[in-house]
Amino acid sequence: MTTRRSLIPFVTGIPLSIIAIFVLASRWIVPNATQQDIMTGVTAPGTAGHLFGTDQLGRDIGQLAIAGASSAVVGPIVIALGSMMIGILLGTFAGYMGGWLDLLLSKYADLLLALPTTLVALVVTGLIDGGYWVTVLVLIMLFSPTDIRMIRGSVIAQTGRPYIESAKVLGLSRRRIMFRHILPNVLPVAFSTMLLNVAFALVSMSALSFLGLGVGPGVPDWGRQLSDSRDLIDRNWGSVVLPAMLIIITAAAINLLGDWLQDRFEQRAVQR
C-alpha cells in the first residue's frame, strides 16, 4: 500500500509536466492553432495532418487543445492562489482574534454556501459580462469563504495547544504568535488545500466557458472547444473526446496529488 501510494507524485507528475509544457510553450509548439481553414471543414480523426481531426472552421483539434491549456490552467492557479492568500490573511485574524471580524466572515460564508457555487458563478459572471479576468476575480470571491473557514479552523485548533499558551505567557506579541508560531503549522494544510482548489477552479472555469462565459470567442480554451464541438460529435468524435479527456485527466492528476499531500501532512501531524 505504502509503496503504491508513493508512486503518486510520479504518476501525476507526468501528465502535469506535459500540461505545464503546453502552457509555457504553446506559442512555439503550435503557433498556428487558431488558423482557420473553411475549405477543409469538419474532418474525422486520422485525416492527413490532423491526428484528432478538425472542427467546423477547419482548425486542428489537437493544436487547439494544446493552445487551450494556458487559458484552462492559468486562471485556476490564480484563483487558488488569490483565494488562499485571502484565506490565510483573514482566516488567521478571524481565528486568533475572534470578535466582529470573525462573525462577519462566518456570516458571509454562510450566505455564499446557501447556493451552489456553479449557480452563483453563472449568474454573477453572466450578468456583469466580464471577460476572463473578471471571471477569475468573481471565482476568487466565491472560493475565499471556504478557505477562510478552513484556515480559521486550523488556527483555532492550534491556538488551544499548550505551546501557544506558553508563548502567550512569555508575553510575546500577537503578531509574533500569529505569524511565527501559528502560521508555519497551518501552511502545510493550506498548501494541499490550495492544490485541490486548483482542480476545482479548473472545473468551474471550464464549466463557465462551456456555458459561453468567461472566455472570449476565438480564444482557444478546452471548455469553449467542448461546447463548440457538441454538435460535431457524430462527424468528429475527437473534437469532444480530446478536450474532455484533457480536462478530466488534469483535474484528476491535481486532485490525486493534493489528496496524497494532505494524507502525508496528516500522518506527519499524527506522528508529532
Binding site: 451552489p116 456553479t118 449557480l119 453563472l122 456555458l211 468524435w237 469532444v240 478530466i248
Partner: protein, 332 residues
Amino acid sequence: MDSAHSHRRLTQLLSRGSLTRFIIVRLAATGLLLVVLSFVVFALLHLTPGDPARNLVGVRNVTPELLQSIRDKYHLNDPFLTQYLHWLGNVVQGDFGESIRNNTTVTTLLSDRVLLTLQLAAFSFTLTVLFAVPLGIAAAWRSGSVLDRSVSAASIVGVGAPTYAVGLLLLYVFGLWLDIFPVYGSGDGGFDRWWHLVLPAITLASGLAAMVFKLTRTAVVAELNQDYVAFAQSRGLSHRQIRSLVLRNAMIPVATSLGLVFAFLFGGTILVEVTFALQGIGSLLAGSVTFKDLPVVQAITLLTATVIALTALAVDILYYVVDPRVRKRGMK
C-alpha cells in the same frame, strides 16, 4: 429498531415540546436567511450594468412608452427599498413578473419545466445513494482491499471530473458509438422520459456518488476505529450486531452530508441539462443569464435557495431525531 418503536419515539419527542421549539428556532433562522438572500437577488437587477429599465426591455424595440410602462410596472422610480418590498410582495404570491425572452409570465415558464428537473434530480439522487452508500460501507469494512483502493481512486477522479465532460463522453460512447441510449431530448413522458434521462442522471450522479462515497467511507472508517467496536468484538458480539452498531453511529454524519449533496445537485443540473439539451430549469437559467432575462434569473435563484434552505432544515431535524446527544443538549 422497528418502525413502531421509532414512531413512538417521535411522538414522544413532539409531546415533550423540545422538538417543536427546536423546529421553530430553526425555521426562524431559515426565514431570516431567505429574506437576506431575496434582498441580494433583487439587488441583482441594479447590479447588472446598464439601466435596469432598458435591461428589462430586452430585445424588444425601445420606445419611451415601453420604458415608461416598465418603470411603472417595476416601480423603478420609487426608492430602492420600496421597490424591493413591492417585488417581495409579488414573489410571496408566486408572481415573479414576466420573462423578457418569452412573452409569458415567469411562473408559467417555470411550471412547464420544473417537473423535468425534479425528475432528473430525483433519479440521480437515487442512483447516488443506491451506489455510493453501500460501496462506501463495503470499502470502509475492507479498507486496503482491492475494492477499496480501486473505488477510492475512482472517487478522487470522479469528484474532480467535470459533469459536462463526463456527459459528452457518455453521450459519445453510449449514445452514438454503442447506440443504446437516446442522444438528445427528454422523451414523450412515461417510461420514455426515464429512458431519456438515464445518461443525464448517470452523468450527474457520477460526481455526486464520488463525493458521497468518500463521505460514507470516512464516516464508517472513523466508527470502526472507535474503542466501542473493539469492545464489542471482545465481548463476542456477532458480525451482524457489530455492523448494526457501527452503521447506526455512522448514519448520523452520512445523513447530514446527504443534505450537502442535495445543494450540489442543483448546481450540477445546469450543466447536465445544457449538455443533453434538456428543457429543464437549469438550461433555462443558463439561457436566461446570457439573455439577461432578469426576472427568470431572480426566480430560479431564489427558488433554488429556498429548496436548499429547506433541505438544510430537514437535515437538522433529522440530526436531532437520530442523535441522542444532540437531543439532550439541544442544538447550538
